[in-house]
Symmetry: C2
């Protein structure tokens, strides 16, 4: 079924203990779309500046990513520069230049307005709501990412958008901040009352946890010998999660669990190399093999 993502397309400058790149394609919608396109066709809504070349768009070619909703605006593309500490657990933002993203006002092409599955990447909740208002029929599933900035600055707007959201995908610190509750189970119950019946908590090297209708599912992070660049891990997770759901067309509990595994698989591949380098060469068969590896990693019999 049709999958729509709305979010940033950006250029990133990245620095980790494993190296440095000055300018590489990034942004939440980019990671999401590439990851999800292994499972289904993705409609991408975002904005780039006139520095975004045909060469930059090459990564989408030959993939099931539809760029009809990628607006070209006058000015420069969103730019983000960040550095990771030695243990990869902290990241320092060195620069955020919104550029054309500052006046981004997402417009859904007519063909996107019937999207059954929608992922609202981390942007202003007012814009996220505006996306939903442009749909022609009620989507089957809306998933949303957000961050401390919006939780602090636009709490009312975020609350309004959450009312129309079925899946909230955030990290544990954001969960605690949004619910004003340290315990994640109780936080999940608070968030359930805000709208989303499903909460997906991304915990980086500690894996991910889902609370769906009060039932908890936990999946560990894939043990990797090298994590070279954590950028885009969460958006790749979201892409694997939503891509799998949209391709299967079902949102029952068992399928949501499988989606958690495929999300974890895509997130684990994303961090193996810099930027989009690993997703660029990834094969469907590798995804399936790693999903089976996740099963090995967690299975036991009583």
């Amino acid at each position: 079924m049709s999958l729509l993502v709305v979010g940033s397309v950006a250029f990133d400058a990245l620095e980790t203990p494993y190296g440095k790149v000055e300018r590489t394609l990034g942004g939440a919608a980019t990671y999401f779309a590439i990851a999800a396109s292994f499972f289904t066709r993705v409609h991408l809504v975002g904005v780039v500046g006139d520095d975004f070349s045909e060469e930059d768009a090459a990564i989408f070619r030959g993939r099931r990513v539809d760029l009809a909703g990628l607006e070209r605006a006058k000015g420069r593309t969103f730019f983000w520069a960040g550095r990771y500490t030695a243990d990869m657990n902290d990241r320092v933002t060195l620069a955020t230049e919104l550029n054309v993203f500052a006046t981004f006002n997402p417009k859904l092409p007519a063909a996107y307005r019937d999207s059954a599955y929608i992922f609202l990447a981390n942007i202003d909740p007012v814009l996220q709501l505006r996306v939903l208002q442009q749909t022609r029929r009620r989507p089957k599933l809306v998933a949303l990412d957000t961050m401390n900035y919006w939780i602090e600055r636009t709490p009312a707007e975020l609350r309004e958008t959450l009312k129309h959201t079925q899946v909230l995908m955030i990290n544990d610190a954001e969960t605690r901040q949004l619910a004003i509750e340290h315990n994640l189970l109780r936080a999940a119950a608070h968030i359930r009352r805000m709208g989303p019946r499903t909460l997906v908590i991304k915990r980086g090297e500690h894996g991910a946890m889902m609370v769906h209708n009060g039932s908890v599912f936990a999946v560990p992070a894939f043990p990797l010998e090298e994590v070279r660049d954590p950028t885009g891990a969460g958006d790749s997770f979201a892409g694997g999660f939503m891509g799998y759901l949209a391709s299967s067309g079902r949102t029952d509990a068992a399928n949501l669990r499988r989606a958690m595994v495929y999300g974890s698989v895509l997130g684990s591949f994303a961090v193996e190399r810099f930027g989009l380098d690993r997703l660029r060469t990834l094969k469907r068969a590798e995804i399936q093999a790693r999903a089976r590896h996740f099963w090995q990693l967690t299975r036991f019999r009583l």
Copy 2:
């Protein structure tokens, strides 16, 4: 099969956001023995002072804990006072009074010298080795806990003791410190070369991970609405783990995975109330029910 634990029996003063106790029975060997006794008979070797009364020993009564190796010395019992921060992730030691524990020299009663399963709780590695030297035949499985203090102060002695250890059970910070390697997979490979073929990494609210012969198994922490007191969680985990192994008499990979689950079950119960209060009232059927709950928590089908 026979299970032996050597470690501290102590009085604890505890303070968490949920309350405060001035003096309650604690110590690694105590938590371990109570937890393991749900599965098998436990021989306890430790030392207490003359302030340790019959009333204090009452918790062991009616359980499969043999106290023939619990030495009574002149002086006061080991005392520890600690306070946990609001999020339970940090603990501040307010007092450590070794008392009779300062001159502890573990002596195995004759009946304990054939123990097949041995848990060396966190004490001086020189004493841990001395325990093993008193055994009459090669134990089937020796598991060891240690901490940053011994890793820093007595690295050579710890290395020597590790040569005779099959399972090392420590937390992730200790793993990284011992191996001088941040990545847990690579750290596990280093530690494998020191002796233990199995590494169990305890990660608190993030669960536990086992690397056994290069194969990884991960189990999440049990999601609890209230964690009232984390004291003894790791030793209760070790008790569940070793108690299950000793009761089954097998140390193959599948059984080690089940032991990880039973360890997690006992650890999760321990933190529900203060000190030993929850283990005190725990029933075998509750353990089995929670083990099944762990299965529910992690299962998925591809």
